[in-house]
């Protein structure tokens, strides 16, 4: 079931094309990674989802209905460039922001106190923002994004400004929110966290969507048929057995167990590779190398830039 959908969205700013015919659909209770180099158009798309800017053409849907202004109370948005009122006490400020999202004063106050306890910042409730460290401000910001229990959460670079411990805490909370039923759109340049968190990704480059699919499938799509093989035996034998259909990228015989990196050309399969080696040596391990999101990102963007 799709919670959110954007269909053929176009947006032009003055003379720059920010989005060209971009469509995405986000399944309910999933984490959707919105990736792309700087200036690709991610922030514009996110602002369109938040109804901050209107698309020139194209439509957006929430829960199968065309989205309108009142739907923004069901969205929680953590922008990349974020800030708080410096002179305001954080408790008061968080309540105000929650009220703007449609919560009553009492609900806002109760929910916020729970979150403040959870993030260990309750003692700062009556402090002004300017007295807080950057990390603490980020925590407050995260809380104000999620406190009104929105159906759709949009995080733009949520981990920036967090130390590794707090980044982990945040990751855990994001997964928690998903488990509790939230749907999350997640934009970041931190590819490690994409692999860890995202069920589905879309890659945008120069205003166009160039890749879209479940994270695993996309990574598989970019695999280059390279295998790590551990074996016992003579490298020379293997080299002979493999012949010209295979390319040996590296081999190492210094260890107790010899290792080998090998790539097969198109038209061959994993099993054919395995059966070609088996007569020549004893196989200890046989593992296909799946490219990291980082590699996928670089490769996809470079290819798209060539065209």
């Amino acid at each position: 079931m799709e919670l959110f959908e954007a269909r053929n969205v176009n947006k032009v700013f003055a003379s720059t094309q920010a989005l060209t015919d971009v469509s995405i659909s986000v399944k309910e209770q999933s984490i959707f990674g919105l990736l792309g180099p700087n200036g690709a158009g991610k922030t514009t798309l996110i602002r369109i989802i938040n109804q901050i800017t209107a698309p020139d053409s194209g439509e957006i849907f929430l829960n199968g209905r065309k989205m309108n202004r009142t739907d923004i109370s069901h969205i929680g948005y953590l922008p990349e460039e974020r800030g708080l009122y410096k002179k305001m006490k954080i408790g008061e400020q968080a309540i105000y922001l929650a009220q703007l999202k449609g919560m009553s004063y009492r609900d806002a106050s109760n929910n916020l106190k729970k979150w403040f306890e959870k993030f260990d910042i309750m003692p700062w409730w009556n402090k002004k923002v300017e007295e807080l460290s950057k990390g603490m401000q980020q925590k407050v910001q995260f809380i104000t994004t999620v406190v009104h229990q929105p159906k759709l959460l949009i995080f733009d670079e949520p981990f920036s400004g967090f130390d590794p411990i707090n980044a982990n805490l945040l990751k855990k909370e994001i997964l928690n929110l998903k488990a509790e039923g939230a749907t999350i759109i997640f934009s970041t340049h931190n590819m490690g966290s994409v692999e860890e968190l995202c069920d589905h990704i879309a890659l945008i480059n120069k205003s166009k969507k160039i890749e879209d699919g479940p994270t695993d499938e996309i990574r598989m799509k970019y695999k280059t048929n390279i295998f790590d093989i551990k074996y016992r035996g003579e490298f020379r034998e293997i080299d002979l057995a493999l012949g010209n259909d295979y390319k040996i990228i590296s081999h190492d015989e210094s260890d107790k167990a010899n290792t080998l990196k090998v790539q097969y050309m198109n038209g061959k399969s994993n099993n054919e590779l395995l059966s070609s080696i088996m007569p020549a040596a004893e196989i200890l391990a046989f593992e296909e190398l799946i490219p990291s999101m980082n590699d996928v990102f670089i490769k996809a963007v470079e290819e798209s830039n060539k065209n």
Partner: protein
């Protein structure tokens, strides 16, 4: 709760709770009262310094004519003492040295030596004493020469001071006493008041917008509320702060007035004061003594009463609100368009120029409220809040007032719509140097 209301409440409470607001609001009336009090105190305070002026009279006519006045004594000295004092005034114990030359009757010149800057009252006192003596003396001689016995009496009867009371004929043919002085003061004060409020609170809106943009909280806010709601809440909230301030001042002023009246203005003291005022006037200008009428205060009150107060009050509230809305919308748009203080200063000037112009023209407008300058300034919407307010106490034609108000309302609506557009685009625009040309381009953007 409605979002606009929430923002309004937030803006209002934030400002009203600020220490600077509380201090300014409470202290301002005391400050103004204090300043006026000091001015009045020093101007009516008895000069307590004991002074003795040495007088060398070369004519030998004035001996005995220089009586002690206030705290100033006169001591006549012979010529040889004068010669030594002239070069050794310091340490002599004399405050000053007056030299009356023998040719004073023909030259009207005397000299006063002193090592200090002499107070104005002292020179005025000496001049008056000398002039009056010589005048009387000369007059006496003329009377004697003429041989008419009661000439002095008859001459004094010729002293005349005409008081012009201006009467305004209304359309119904009624005549009312009006005073152009009272109307002038009223119109000048209103123009100034409108100017200060529009400027002060308009700038407040601008700073508030800039703060949100600079702290980057703006993106979170406008993902919750419409920019137009944010702007409306901000502008109305700030206007309420202004009205609160005025209300507090009115209450404090009322209390102050009652207290001052009951403390100092018992009927006897009022009478005494009236007398002393008349006396001092009489001293400076003997003719005025006869002209001064005890019911002058009553007359001024009557003139204030004859101003069309309900109209003035209505016009004041109208031009205050419309002028504030117009300028705060424009300044809010400026705040959204720029992202540093330097740029904002550059942009604020062209936007507020008409307002500054109207305050510069306030004096000529209030002086000649029926002239073409006054007319055009009070019709053109950007200057009309100040200019028209300066004309209203003079009872201007109704059609002019209606035209001015109508144009102002129209312009305000158009400007708010344009400002809302600039506001929405500007809020998320960073690092771009914005000028008027760029802003006009934004107005053509869609979506």
């Amino acid at each position: 709760m409605n979002n606009t209301l929430l923002i309004l409440k937030q803006e209002y409470l934030k400002r009203v709770k600020k220490k600077s607001f509380i201090i300014l609001t409470i202290l301002m009336p005391f400050l103004i009262a204090g300043v006026y009090g000091l001015v009045i105190y020093f101007s009516i305070k008895d000069d307590t310094e004991e002074r003795t002026i040495a007088v060398y009279d070369a004519t030998n006519l004035f001996l005995g004519e220089f009586s002690e006045e206030g705290t100033t004594n006169y001591h006549f000295i012979p010529k040889n003492e004068y010669e030594t004092l002239k070069t050794n005034l310091k340490g002599s114990g004399y405050y000053g040295l007056l030299f009356i030359p023998s040719d004073i009757y023909s030259n009207n010149q005397a000299q006063l030596f002193s090592e200090k800057q002499l107070p104005f009252e002292l020179t005025e006192q000496i001049e008056r004493k000398l002039s009056r003596f010589i005048e009387n003396d000369k007059r006496q001689k003329v009377i004697e020469e003429s041989g008419i016995p009661d000439l002095e009496e008859r001459l004094s009867k010729t002293r005349t001071s005409v008081n012009l009371s201006t009467l305004k004929v209304s359309q119904s043919g009624e005549t009312k006493k009006s005073s152009s002085v009272v109307a002038f003061i009223a119109s000048y004060a209103m123009g100034l008041l409108i100017y200060f409020f529009v400027f002060m609170y308009g700038a407040m809106v601008m700073r508030s917008v800039m703060e949100e943009k600079k702290s980057r909280i703006i993106e979170v806010i406008i993902s919750s509320v419409k920019p137009s709601q944010l702007m409306a809440g901000k502008i109305i909230g700030t206007a309420l702060v202004g009205l609160t301030q005025v209300a507090i001042w009115l209450v404090l002023g009322g209390i102050g007035l009652v207290v001052v009246q009951s403390l100092f203005f018992t009927p006897e003291t009022a009478q005494q004061m009236g007398q002393s005022i008349m006396e001092s006037q009489g001293q400076m200008n003997p003719a005025a003594m006869q002209a001064a009428q005890p019911n002058q205060v009553k007359e001024v009150m009557e003139m204030i009463g004859n101003l069309n107060l309900p109209l003035i009050l209505f016009a004041f509230v109208f031009y205050f609100l419309a002028g504030y809305l117009l300028y705060s919308a424009l300044l809010g748009a400026v705040g959204a368009a720029v992202d540093n203080d330097e740029d904002s200063q550059q942009m604020v000037f062209p936007v507020t120029f008409p307002l500054i112009l109207s305050i510069m023209l306030l004096f000529p407008i209030a002086k000649n409220p029926e002239g073409p300058l006054a007319f055009w300034c009070s019709i053109i919407p950007f200057t009309s809040p100040v200019a028209m307010m300066a004309r209203v106490p003079y009872e201007i034609p109704v059609w002019e007032l209606l035209l001015s108000m109508g144009l102002l309302v129209l312009t305000t609506i158009v400007c708010i719509m344009a400002a809302a557009k600039i506001y929405r685009i500007g809020l998320l625009m960073y690092g771009k140097k914005v000028n008027i040309k760029e802003l006009i381009k934004w107005l053509r953007y869609k979506g």
